[in-house]
């Protein structure tokens, strides 16, 4: 068979379950009872006096709860329904989520009522792709009876789906650390931004270099930056999208534009970094910024600059 024929055969196999029973001669695990009603009302924060005292009724929206198998499982599930679910499991649709619930209440349920129910598979959808993953919607209709009399009907739709593969979070590139710049990264680890200073002529330099570009002397020590600065220049990166640079400032996995700034520190040197806490299109030359150390993953902390509101 070619691929289309295989797909058609599969679709027909699923469709064949429509109209077949999902549960036969089901019986509620417990009669309708005051303790379960109370637990429900406590969870929902429902203080309706109709649900307590003599003459109490069960909250109508509990209809399905009386039919649930609980940890003991569903003893009344029909073979057709078990088969359908197993078939979808085998197809990789191992996860389930409920999407629709439609209940009609014919008469109220009261403590002592013994609930009986039958359920039918109304429909099985075609293959659908959702945000959660790809799968099939299965709709069942359950008639709930007490003493043979219809108390309510309950239409329920679930999505049986194959969980979408979640990409691991994208990580920023690792810094290349060598003997010329190791002191800088040692400072970052301690949340200190260190500027190199030539011990011969006192010129500050950044980024870190092996020698002084003014006098050529190789000796140096460091000055800790105060953390104050201004945006000297900036660019906004639109393309290519790079989620690692924007995910912390945007919704999960969003790979939007981001601002890269050349920040002039109060000490006079300039460094390339990101401006955070300000939308990329609100970054401006001259904008005051303040140093902040941000953790981007379990091993990477970077100095970035928080925009300071005017």
């Amino acid at each position: 068979m070619d691929e289309v024929a295989v797909d058609d055969a599969w679709a027909a196999r699923l469709k064949a379950y429509e109209g077949r029973p999902a549960a036969v001669a089901g019986v509620g695990r417990d009669p309708v009872n005051a303790p379960m009603i109370r637990h429900w009302c406590e969870a929902m924060g429902d203080t309706n006096p109709a649900y307590t005292g003599p003459g109490a009724i069960a909250p109508p929206t509990m209809l399905q709860a009386w039919t649930m198998g609980g940890l003991g499982g569903h003893t009344s599930r029909a073979r057709a329904y078990e088969e359908l679910l197993a078939l979808l499991d085998e197809a990789g649709c191992t996860a389930v989520v409920a999407t629709d619930c439609e209940q009609e209440y014919v008469r109220p349920l009261r403590p002592g009522d013994e609930v009986a129910f039958d359920s039918v598979i109304e429909s099985v959808s075609e293959r659908k792709t959702t945000r959660l993953g790809t799968g099939y919607f299965v709709t069942t209709r359950t008639d709930v009876r007490v003493d043979g009399e219809l108390a309510g009907t309950h239409r329920f739709r679930i999505l049986k789906y194959a969980p979408a593969h979640r990409k691991p979070k994208e990580r920023r590139p690792r810094p290349v650390i060598n003997r010329d710049n190791a002191g800088f990264w040692d400072g970052v680890r301690e949340h200190r931004l260190l500027i190199q200073r030539c011990t011969a002529c006192a010129t500050l330099r950044f980024p870190w270099l092996p020698g002084c570009s003014t006098c050529g002397a190789p000796e140096w020590d460091t000055v800790e930056a105060s953390g104050e600065g201004t945006v000297f220049s900036y660019v906004v990166m639109h393309h290519p999208p790079f989620p690692a640079f924007t995910a912390s400032d945007h919704a999960a996995d969003a790979a939007g534009p981001y601002a890269v700034a050349l920040v002039e520190l109060a000490e006079g040197v300039r460094m390339v970094s990101n401006v955070v806490g300000v939308p990329y299109d609100k970054v401006r030359i001259g904008m005051p910024v303040r140093l902040e150390f941000r953790r981007y993953d379990e091993e990477l902390v970077l100095p970035v600059f928080q925009g300071v509101a005017a």
């Binding site: 969870a43 929902m44 309706n48 909250p59 940890l71 209440y105 959660l132």
Partner: protein, 139 residues
């Protein structure tokens, strides 16, 4: 009851406790409603509220407004964005149609992610008993 009447919004803080208590009160032991690890393995960032709890909250929202004599006839809901711990869901309702003592209320519950629940509730509020209602305490 009149067409266009808006129900006072109900703000529901979605706590882990509410999600788990609702799942157990409805006898729903699906792991995604109480086990964060299992929820993540199935593509969800955390546990999420089950549909039976949403259904119960929608029912409560309507009877809170119309009072204890209100009779729920039908509740039809569709879920969209999940309710995760830390979310706040705001339920809103508008009376869409009125036929005698029976109204259809359109309900919308939104959280920071979007529309968690949309649907309609058909409710009967017996004539003459409407004045003695003690509802409207939602909030």
């Amino acid at each position: 009851m009149r067409v266009g009447e808006e129900l006072r919004p109900l703000e529901v803080p979605i706590t882990r406790t509410l999600i788990v208590a609702g799942a157990l009160a409805s006898r729903d032991y699906q792991d995604v409603h109480h086990d964060p690890e299992a929820a993540r393995a199935k593509g969800s960032p955390d546990v999420f509220m089950n549909i039976l709890t949403t259904n119960g909250l929608v029912g409560r929202y309507i009877t809170d407004h119309f009072g204890p004599t209100a009779v729920l006839r039908k509740v039809a809901i569709r879920l969209g964005a999940p309710n995760h711990p830390g979310d706040t869901m705001v339920l809103r309702g508008t009376v869409e149609t009125v036929d005698g003592d029976t109204a259809v209320v359109r309900v919308l519950g939104e959280n920071g992610r979007g529309r968690h629940v949309t649907g309609t509730v058909t409710v009967t509020v017996p004539e003459g008993e409407r004045d003695v209602r003690t509802g409207g305490g939602a909030g």
